[in-house]
């Protein structure tokens, strides 16, 4: 029984995509290791829900822009490659933005300009320029997916702590019991404000470095 579960698991662990995703989550995380895409990762982390939507939107945009640029890479002239990449990314971001407006209007209002700002998010242009321009489509797609997931993981981690400690809620539902407030527990209001995001991500990176050093 054990072997039955272990076999697909070890096959999965050996696969190329799995290794790429683990690398982006941990050793080469785009946010905490390569310091890319900080802007949006801070602004949308007041609530868990917006953070998850933003993470998914960015993952889809990076993965599909990597795929498209990689498919076109032989036809793109060297000198205008940045403009071509920007056009591809901008088109995909517009699609994501319109999609959110149509199907998740409330979340789209909360994310306001930050979905549009995926265009100038360094992760997206960084991956298309550094990876998709010289690699085959499938690998580029996996690379985009991996980096998107790595970015989303930091986003969700920070949002989880900020929403839990800052307003005592998760996904908008109160999780800190009323009895705690009676006993003198108070929400940390600073975490909901802008400085809380900076400090939280600083501490997050510190923790990650400590854990990596130990390993």
């Amino acid at each position: 029984m054990n072997g039955l579960i272990a076999r697909p698991w070890s096959a999965l662990k050996r696969s190329y995509s799995f290794k790429e995703i683990v690398k982006a989550l941990w050793k080469a995380n785009p946010v905490s290791k390569q310091i890319l895409g900080i802007c949006s990762s801070l602004a949308v982390t007041v609530q868990l829900q917006t953070a998850i939507v933003m993470g998914v939107a960015l993952t889809l945009v990076v993965a599909s822009s990597n795929l498209l640029v990689s498919l076109m890479r032989k036809g793109i002239p060297r000198n205008i490659r940045i403009i071509v990449q920007c056009a591809v990314i901008a088109t995909l971001v517009i699609i994501a933005d319109e999609f959110l407006k149509a199907f998740m209007y409330d979340v789209s209002k909360q994310l306001s300009v930050f979905v549009g700002l995926i265009i100038t998010n360094c992760i997206v242009l960084g991956r298309t320029e550094a990876y998709a321009m010289n690699n085959p489509p499938l690998r580029a797609f996996v690379d985009g997916l991996a980096n998107g997931i790595g970015y989303a993981s930091v986003l969700v981690g920070v949002a989880f702590l900020r929403e839990l400690l800052g307003s005592g809620r998760l996904f908008g539902i109160a999780v800190v019991p009323e009895a705690w407030y009676q006993a003198g527990y108070a929400n940390n209001g600073l975490l909901v404000l802008a400085p809380g995001a900076f400090i939280m991500i600083g501490l997050f990176v510190w923790l990650e470095h400590r854990v990596l050093e130990k390993n």
């Binding site: 602004a43 700002l117 600083g202």
Partner: protein
């Protein structure tokens, strides 16, 4: 007039584009090691923001907004979904033209600012200010003040950061916190300082 002053003060201090909207972090973290370069980039950002934001206002209100094409006989048009792509193209074009003009007429200014200009095209604060301007329905005068004010706010923040980094050079920082982690915490403290301006009303 009072309205304009309050938008200006707000965009520099309380609603600082970097410290309360987190825009332009990448170049903020990369270029804040030296005071002189930080100041150079800051001035270049003021310059570009003050030019591109009103220019984007014109594009939006005469081409893209719902009903904006009435002058061309198309009263039902709504091209506002194209704003992302047109704004970024406009910013890239203005930065390019600016670079050529400065190079032609003021070589001294070019050596001081020239290196930073291409960096600015991908600075998300520039695009962000243009998008906020649309979202908040500013008029042309308000937009001009808001653009310049946001640039000044960004410049102020990066200069403060560079000055603090200089002082921190000899500080004994825990190993895991060095670099990125510390920069974020210092930025958080600056942001906290700037929040105190919130009580001031003009």
């Amino acid at each position: 007039m009072e309205n304009l002053i309050s938008i200006g003060v707000n965009s520099i201090f309380v609603g600082n584009i970097l410290l309360s909207y987190f825009l332009g972090m990448c170049s903020f973290l990369a270029v804040s090691r030296h005071l002189a370069t930080a100041a150079g980039l800051g001035v270049a950002v003021i310059f570009v923001m003050a030019l591109t934001t009103p220019a984007n206002w014109l594009i939006y209100h005469f081409l893209l907004a719902p009903g904006a094409l009435a002058w061309a006989g198309l009263p039902n048009s709504n091209l506002s979904f194209l704003k992302l792509i047109l704004f970024i193209a406009q910013i890239a074009a203005i930065v390019q033209i600016l670079e050529m003009i400065i190079d032609r007429y003021s070589p001294a200014l070019y050596t001081a600012l020239g290196v930073y200009l291409p960096l600015i095209t991908v600075n998300c604060a520039i695009l962000g200010v243009s998008l906020f301007m649309v979202e908040r329905n500013y008029s042309l005068a308000e937009t001009a003040v808001y653009g310049a004010g946001s640039g000044a706010g960004w410049c102020l923040a990066i200069i403060a950061m560079a000055a603090i980094q200089k002082k921190l050079r000899y500080a004994d920082v825990p190993k895991g916190l060095q670099g990125f982690g510390l920069s974020m915490i210092v930025t958080g403290l600056i942001a906290m300082g700037f929040m105190l301006f919130a009580g001031i009303s003009v």
